[in-house]
Symmetry: C2
Subunit: 351 residues, 2 copies
């Protein structure tokens, strides 16, 4: 695997210094934390005077060797239409962040804030991997065992069996690189469906099932169900972006209302109040195991570069973890391996 | 409502005495509890000697006036293919339960156990409402406010905009009867989608959105998202059975793993252990607010009779609540009102 075009020893990651609810402060802090921990070069994109002020308030010495500020005067707001905004504001930080990868000045990009703007920038300024119809959003979910990657989590509302097959290929490569299974097997791929038996589900799921089953390069373990988002049954759970997004948000909704009910019930009796006080830190730890900042963000797979899109509400820890995931994906040569998997499949499909 | 062949003043409900993991004991107990609470007649279907033995162990006096045992020698097991089983075993309890409604001897059926067998029996022995393409499964979800009815929760993996429109009509009538909104408005209908703005979602959702918006007989409030399964934003959340089932099970999966994490974290420190002991009953109460036995079961809407399908693991309380829901639906004249809504719509569609 020496066919990857990067600086031999150092990984460069471009980071949107202006994106997200807590930019630039928390982003800068996350970047500095990452630079203290990993051997990296960061291209920090945004308004230079603003970013410099944030750096000056913190640890300036680190900038010199590992951090370069790349100027971008504009910012795309959460409310703007992503497509219109990236066309109009070519000097927006998120566009320049993607440009760094598109121009091979960085191997990965990290951005918090508007998922739509990050996706559009990546798509138009970096481009897709050869043979990829539509990039997908991958989200890592917490299970009692290893994380499960759900994709597509919402980029493509309507999918074809071919797209689901590509999602499986990309997810397999990604999870192999970031969470290599201990038994030296390939990541377990399951199809998100409404029953475990073959033949279950809608037309799309049935056709995708056959496609996945026929691909011997995948470790396809059959159908998974909604509950397998969190069961650890599969390493990759493949679905169309409509079902995937609804499933994710339904789980989010349950978590929210359950938290609400727990608070209500604890405060309804004196014993509950005391128990709740003593149990508070344990309950918070349980909740935090689902914290999206732990994984750093959603992945945009199918782009010719690593793209990690952090939640708009990310703090320094979220940015730090997004950079960590980006770095591990670059080290794992995810892009070269995905390209190879997709090209090989296309070749065998033509044969 | 005088076209039903029963005692004019009394509601008759046929109940599968043999269905579910805890039949016949818990079913018989649930029936007796319901008969003590409501003015009902129950046709208890199953093996007479087995059911009589269960009744004899309990309160026999009640049988005389309000309970009739209807013999059915066979039982369909959870593992059997529903379609094959109901064809082969015409004397299976679930088939006879549906027959009672089909023959107008009861206005509602209640069965625990195989959803597939109950659906198939209802479909073939009772039949559909005029104009209904495909019956849907409705599941009532717990929110901080009134319950939300999700449908379709899994009966139809592939749906058309017409089907989603019918689900909305049926759900509206049902929730109007069981949970009439306090402000005298009609139940709020939302379309389950991946964004709130019009124009979001897949082709099906977009077409269904237009259809729902155009129907002035519905109180359509626009798109809902996955989190709205539990937010209380809508009274009825309409979706295809594929997304609906996945959303439900994803939430179930999150609940399970969160419970697991809470236990782990509580037991990891002494303070957590003590807090957990004191908080235990409050945590259990919070969990129980999602208990499916509270609502009694899933509803099969689109059948020419009330069908409540309880979870296979239902205890007496689940059966009691299923009978309560069935009774309220009969009292609310749900079937006559649904028929009217569907026929009116068909007439206006033809015009």
């Amino acid at each position: 695997m020496s066919d990857v075009e990067t600086a031999p020893s150092q990984i460069t990651i471009s980071v949107d210094g202006m994106g997200g609810d807590y930019a630039p402060g928390e982003v800068v802090q996350g970047v500095l934390d990452a630079l203290k921990t990993f051997d990296l070069h960061v291209l920090l994109v945004g308004q230079p005077e603003v970013l410099k002020a944030e750096l000056t308030r913190r640890d300036v010495a680190w900038q010199q060797r590992q951090l370069t500020i790349v100027p971008a005067q504009n910012v795309i707001d959460m409310g703007e239409s992503p497509l219109t905004a990236i066309r109009k504001k070519k000097d927006a930080s998120i566009v320049v962040v993607a440009d760094m990868v598109g121009q091979k000045k960085a191997q990965a990009m990290v951005a918090a804030g508007s998922t739509g703007a990050a996706m559009a920038s990546a798509l138009f300024r970096i481009g897709r991997l050869p043979g990829v119809d539509r990039p997908a959003i991958g989200v890592a979910l917490c299970t009692p065992q290893r994380p499960t990657l759900l994709l597509d989590a919402g980029a493509n509302a309507d999918c074809t069996p071919d797209m689901l097959h590509q999602f499986a290929q990309m997810g397999s490569v990604f999870m192999q690189a970031l969470y290599p299974p201990e038994n030296h097997q390939k990541p377990r791929i399951a199809l998100l469906n409404i029953g475990e038996e073959p033949g279950k589900g809608n037309v799309l799921a049935n056709e995708a099932f056959d496609r996945l089953r026929q691909d011997s390069s995948l470790n396809f373990i059959g159908n998974g169900e909604g509950r397998d988002l969190f069961s650890g049954k599969a390493d990759v759970l493949v679905c169309d972006g409509f079902s995937g997004n609804i499933a994710l948000k339904a789980a989010e909704g349950l978590g929210k209302v359950l938290g609400h009910f727990i608070k209500e019930e604890l405060s309804s009796t004196l014993q509950g109040k005391i128990g709740g006080l003593l149990a508070k830190s344990a309950l918070t730890r349980a909740k935090n195991r689902f914290d999206p900042e732990e994984f750093g963000g959603a992945l945009l797979l199918g782009i010719d570069g690593i793209c990690v899109i952090s939640h708009g509400s990310s703090h320094a820890r979220g940015i730090f973890n997004a950079i960590r995931v980006a770095k591990e994906a670059v080290e794992g040569q995810v892009i070269a391996r995905m390209t190879k998997a997709l090209v090989q499949d296309e070749a065998s499909g033509d044969a």
